[in-house]
């Protein structure tokens, strides 16, 4: 099939999923309200975990940030954004499975992965938008326009940081269909990613093996960049660029690696069949 046809189908799914999300927000007000409240709950949990070994000042010193509240807000947003692409992609597949809609959406594309990535992008995009809409007033009140401006920069970086995870998201989505205990795939992967990325604790205080793992996780660089932006020192702009290069490199490595595994997993999923 020509590449243009693939692109057309991909765009069709993105548009269809977006129209669905809008309808869902309108039809399900409880879900909409919960989506707006959830980032604050995440913020509280990061705060509790982060300060569990001392005061806010200790946290500030340990995390090496000038504005801990801003960092907390941003870190929770990152936790949602970066890990969200895996979480939302996989959850959307599981959700289809639970609803019994999975076979019908699979039949909308030549490849299941195409649907998964297109749908994952939209679901994540909506979730991120909701998170930032939710958290923006807090940032504005606490830090004023300057902090809000920083947040917007971080949003951009966070979106870039998602790219290396798209391949992992597709693999996780397929695994969630293949393995019987699908919930465990997510239950294991996401907390691990958050832990090693330094969202909750500084990487330096993590056990050696986790600290090493953190070097391979794109979210780590995202958190580090967020810290730099939160500090917002001109001398450190160069380091932000370095982080962006790392994202780029990781995007290539992870997505190529993911692509190879995806083809195999998709065939395996088709052999096992899709349960309703």
């Amino acid at each position: 099939m020509p590449l243009g046809e693939h692109a057309r189908i991909f765009a069709t799914i993105v548009k269809a999923e977006a129209s669905f999300r809008i309808m869902e927000l309108k039809r399900n007000p409880i879900f909409t309200i919960l989506s707006l409240v959830w980032p604050y709950l995440m913020l509280v949990s990061i705060y509790v975990l982060g300060t569990s070994y001392g005061s806010i000042e200790r946290f500030e010193a340990a995390m090496k940030v000038d504005d801990p509240i801003l960092f907390l807000a941003v870190a929770s947003a990152i936790a949602f954004t970066a890990v969200g692409v895996i979480d939302y992609t996989t959850n959307s597949i599981l959700w289809h499975r639970w609803l019994g809609t999975l076979p019908y959406v699979i039949m909308s594309t030549p490849s299941f992965t195409a649907y998964m990535i297109a749908s994952g992008i939209v679901v994540t995009g909506f979730a991120i938008a909701m998170n930032y809409i939710s958290i923006s007033p807090l940032i504005l009140v606490i830090g004023g326009f300057e902090s809000f401006y920083k947040l917007m920069i971080i949003v951009g970086i966070a979106l870039l940081g998602m790219v290396p995870l798209a391949g992992i998201a597709a693999v996780a989505g397929l695994l969630s269909i293949i393995v019987k205990e699908e919930g465990n795939v997510l239950g294991f992967l996401n907390p691990l990613l958050l832990l090693v990325s330094g969202v909750f604790y500084p990487i330096e205080i993590l056990p050696r093996i986790l600290a090493l793992m953190s070097k391979l996780v794109p979210v780590t660089y995202l958190v580090e960049t967020a810290k730099l932006v939160a500090a917002f020192q001109a001398t450190e702009v160069k380091i932000i660029y370095i982080a962006l290069y790392v994202f780029g490199l990781m995007a290539i490595v992870y997505n190529l690696g993911g692509g190879m595994v995806i083809a195999m997993l998709e065939r395996h999923a088709q052999k096992r069949g899709v349960s309703m």
Partner: protein
Amino acid sequence: MIKAEEAIVARDLRKRFPVGMGLRRKQVEALKGVTFTVRRGEIYALLGPNGAGKTTTVRIISTLLLPDSGEARVLGYDVVKDRWEVRKRIGVMLSVERGFYWKLTARENLYYFGRIYGIPKRKLLGKIEEVLDLVGLKEIGAEDKPYEEMSLGMKARLGLARVLLKDPEVLILDEPTLGLDPPSARMIRSMLRSLADEGRTVLVTTHNMYEAEILSDKVGIIVSGRIVMEGTPSSLKRTVYKVVPISFRLKITPMADLEGLRTSLGMLVEAGRTSITVNGDEVRLRIVIPRVEREESYIEAVTRISYEKGFKLLEARVEEPSLEDVFIEVSSRAAAN
């Protein structure tokens, strides 16, 4: 080589599924070489008990499951190699009860699926109204009802509406009337018949004998992963049952001679193939004749004998075995083998 009039061709489809884990893991053979052909414009019913392999077959033909071996083609396209071409041309309904978003209305659900299937927005809006009308959801005022508030009958109609949204040449439906009330089931059956009359091909699975009998042009009886018998409902009956029972109701008149009737019938029908029961002023008579012989001549002969022996014929009826009889007979033969 597939013939132009063949819409679905399945040849020697085999499928195994792993069951259990570790040392207890074993393979269960769900399909053991399923072969059948559905002609264009035909309604083909795959009839079988639970676990016979109906759903596995349907999922392979719908491109949702890869067979271990064998081949299946839809409108000439291979379901494995050309799955996208197949997907574009089929409409599938896999469950009556699930498969839609609970919070969205019928119309919104159709909009989402129409968009995902790539139907242009303007065309889709018109098509949604058309299919909502066609399946009767508008008539009962359910088009703007959230899916979670719909009855099973409404859900089945919506499922059929989604199938029709794509204007498919081939419809594949897995137990489309399962659990429905009689009016809804009748409506679904009549819709399927009209669609087949328009030239669309319908593959339907069911374990409802009545449905298979009245709906389908051709029936494939599937037992333990194999099609054990195939044909039109009447040809299946003829194949399985080599005899035809005919029953009569006779009125006893004052000149009636019951013994004379018995003797005359004994000369007409093979011994042991006649039964006579007296019930008040009526006689119930049943004869069993070979299927190859003409039923009419026997009815004429019994009518004449009855008149001569002082009885008045009230009713004569050729009893047909139902598809259920055929199914039970075939299943027990398959199990015995």
